[in-house]
Symmetry: C2
Subunit: 147 residues, 2 copies
């Protein structure tokens, strides 16, 4: 079995996309993060879901979650207002994690090694032009390896 056999299709985002829209893409997928690609569809980095929350929430909420409790506003409104008009690029951390990528014919052990190294539960599968053709999640990998 090879990487291509366990890869799944996945919506990607580009850096210029409004972050609100990206947050909805994230919510619509059952995934730990969003893969950010360049204009040619080549994976650049991953935007973790927790990073989206961190950028969206007022800092006083994060410093003291008990304060969040007393805010008499719907959480969705606070988060969407917090994201504001920013783009995906604005939400990415300064030190962007490199999204690991493997070729379609990578072995499962190779995929596991790449994932273990990166500490990110997502690996992009790319073709010979480095264009993303799918992605492998930790869960998808473990399903095939251990179940």
């Amino acid at each position: 079995m090879r990487a291509a056999d366990i890869a799944t299709a996945m919506s990607t985002v580009v850096e210029s996309m409004p972050a609100r829209e990206a947050a909805r893409v994230l919510a619509a997928q059952d995934l730990p993060g969003l893969i950010v690609v360049d204009g040619k569809g080549r994976p650049l980095t991953v935007l973790a879901g927790t990073q989206v929350l961190r950028m969206a929430l007022p800092s006083y909420c994060q410093d003291d979650p008990a304060l969040a409790r007393v805010i008499d506003e719907a959480a969705a409104d606070v988060i969407l207002a917090g994201i504001g008009e920013r783009t995906v690029a604005d939400l990415l951390p300064k030190n962007r994690p490199e999204l690991p990528a493997v070729h379609a014919d990578a072995t499962l052990l190779e995929v596991a090694s790449v994932m273990a190294r990166s500490n990110i539960p997502l690996v992009a599968v790319v073709d010979s032009n480095r264009v993303m053709t799918g992605a492998i999640t930790l869960d998808g990998l473990l399903d095939r390896l251990l179940l």
Copy 2:
């Protein structure tokens, strides 16, 4: 809406459980990690799936994933052999991340704040004795907030 309304049931593991068994529990759930509880069911920490891979894979695989490629052995066998007879406690990193927990009546904004702070896409929901009654995933939270 409160934390209890968006919490899902989740299999937990204890520190004395064989790590191989825990890896199968992880694979069977569509989750980013395993919640480790004490003998009374109180959440202690979270074992990330990538950590399981990191502990299981031979270090030469992680140092150079290209080496993993030439190993003529099934990935599952390498991983299960790598885990060996260790327990969950043996797989936990030395600096255990604290698993954030909220009470059943926490607001969604409070949950979002706790999750943003921890950088872990899982929050345990606990009762007044700190016994875990369920968990909230980033995905579950975003589904309710943004869809």
